[in-house]
Amino acid sequence: MNATVENPNWEVSVPAIGHVLQPGVDTSHKVILYLEDISVSFDGFKALNNLTLAIDAGELRCIIGPNGAGKTTMMDVITGKTRPDSGTCFFGQTIDLTRMTEPQIAHAGIGRKFQKPTIFENHTVFENLELAMKTDKRAWTSLFAWLSSEGRDRISDTLKLIRLDHQAERQAGLLSHGQKQWLEIGMLLMQEPQLLLLDEPVAGMTDDETERTGELFKSLAGKHSLVVVEHDMAFIEQLGGKVTVLHEGSVLAEGDLATVQADERVVEVYLGR
């Protein structure tokens, strides 16, 4: 920082030599999430079998696969809910997710939306977003926390984005299924994660809602990285990103949707021939 003072022509003070470890996610090699040889088994059943997968920073990746292919287990491994039996799982170049707890991973910048919408049903919509907002989340701080006007503005922006601005004071449990899905997405955005994991985000939504969700995700890509698990092929087509097919716990095929759909092995897995 002193250099900036000595030489006002320097716009930013960047270390000139070498690579200095920065706090936060290091995506200097373009990859934001890297899973290598991950295996998880439950009572002998191999839910994940040497799964290797890399997600680039800013990418919008869709993951498909028949039931039991390991999609949800993969998300469990990334978010710290399940520890892999073997393999490595890195967030950026430096953060080893297999050594962290769920809250630590959330703080590092990974947000997750569950298959079944999980929101706080007894809290209002506003409170749901408030609780999710990126801030100091330690118990002692929460005792004396007070919502700033900046925080209030952020919440109202998100409320508009998820079209719940007229329901802010409504109890979240009273929302429709689609609205709950949107609220959970809103909570994810309040966390300001670099990587969003979305497990069947449009399940139970109307066509109109689904399309709007697609638009939202596409607008998020670039700034954020998204991993979407879906069954709805029309939705995946709308998103238009790279598609990964999982089968029996490993990657079966990868590429754009048309290529993947033309792949004989994929057809076989889906039709069960």
Partner: protein, 368 residues
């Protein structure tokens, strides 16, 4: 941090709540002690010793009930061992009361009677300092809280939840009861502590002392309610209820439930200890029976009857059940436990939100 803390807190509580609190304060801190002390016993307005002691006792129970509700109603953790913290607080203060007896005991010794009886020649090390009231207060505030903290840390870190947690707390208080039953433990064995004479040199049975203990219990109850109100309206309280409703979601948005649970658990134990310390001089005895699992279950019943997840509910529940108990155990002593069991079943089946829930329903019907 723009708006001062006090203003925020004042705004977070409705006006009716403040008025009710003010009325309660006037009654318990001024009117009742005055009617007890200043009027002759023959006067129809005289508040008898019985009423003062009984209501003082019930207010101590009400503190325990609020403490239980903070952990059960708001954080969803059912403890069936809260009687332990109450008893530990009682024992901690009871040690001081024993020392205040001085040489007026049956054996005219400086040692408490039960130690003379066991032929002990000097006080055990953990009785050191027990002749000081300040030390006693310090023990009340720290020992039960420390026990709770250590227990809670291991239980919550291992993510023990639901009925498993309840059973372990039950085992914890049972184990402590067996430990305190032993004479060698140094807390009077199955007789516990009794025959208290003085507090700070003043006669413990004098009307002035009774009125003081009564008013202190009322003050403690009001402070408990205010602290509870602050907690549940703060962001901390919202996280707590979120943990109760969807713990995994809370973790995935970056909160560590361990610290939240540990804080409210320890705080709740501390409140119970304070209640226990105020209770013992008013009833004049503390023994390991207070740690029996049945006592802890009764606490849960008070909260269930009054209404979980509200602050006034537990106070009403503790009051109703105990008023009834003091009548019932005199009128039909054999049937009290059956009645208590039936009450719990009945409330669970027909009044899941307790008396406050019933009140809310009636009010909603009237406006509808």
């Amino acid at each position: 941090m723009r708006t001062p803390f006090i203003i925020r807190f004042l705004n977070a509580t409705p006006r009716a709540g403040w008025i009710a609190l003010g009325v309660f304060a006037a009654l318990t801190l001024v009117v009742m002690p005055a009617l007890h002390l200043l009027l002759p016993e023959s006067s129809p307005f005289h508040v008898s010793t019985y009423v003062i002691t009984l209501s003082g006792k019930i207010m101590c129970y009400a503190i325990v009930a609020v403490a239980m509700d903070l952990i059960w109603g708001y954080a969803g953790i059912l403890s069936l061992g809260h009687g332990l913290f109450f008893a530990l607080g009682g024992y901690a203060f009871g040690m001081y009361l024993m020392r205040e007896i001085g040489t007026d005991g049956s054996y005219q010794s400086h040692l408490p009677d039960f130690m003379v009886f066991l032929d002990w020649k000097e006080l055990p090390w953990y009785w050191a300092g027990s002749d000081s009231m300040l030390w006693a207060i310090l023990l009340v505030l720290t020992v039960p809280a420390l026990v709770a903290y250590i227990f809670g840390y291991f239980a919550f870190r291992s993510r023990i939840k639901g009925v498993y947690f309840s059973i372990i707390t039950q085992a914890m208080t049972f184990a402590a009861m067996l430990f305190f039953f032993r004479n060698e433990t140094g807390f009077g064995g199955n007789n516990g502590f009794t025959d208290f004479k003085r507090i700070l040199g003043h006669d413990i049975t004098s009307p002035e002392m009774r009125a003081t203990l009564f008013a202190l219990s009322a003050l403690a109850l009001m402070l408990t309610l205010l602290a509870g109100r602050y907690l549940v309206t703060s962001k901390f309280g919202r996280v707590l209820t979120a943990i109760r409703d969807a713990e995994s979601r809370v973790m995935f948005i970056g909160y560590n439930p361990l610290h939240y649970k540990l804080f409210i658990w320890t705080f709740s134990a501390m409140l119970c200890a304070i209640a226990g310390a105020l209770y013992v001089p008013q009833v004049g005895i503390i023994n390991p029976g207070e740690m029996s699992p049945a006592n802890s279950i009764e606490i849960a019943i008070w909260v269930a009857v009054g209404g979980r997840g509200t602050l006034i509910g537990p106070v009403i529940g503790a009051g109703l059940v105990n008023l009834f108990k003091s009548y019932f155990t005199v009128a039909f002593p054999e049937y009290w436990l059956f009645f208590l069991g039936a009450l719990f079943v009945g409330v669970t089946l027909w009044l899941p939100e307790g008396v406050t829930g019933l009140w809310k329903r009636l009010k909603a019907r009237r406006t509808a």
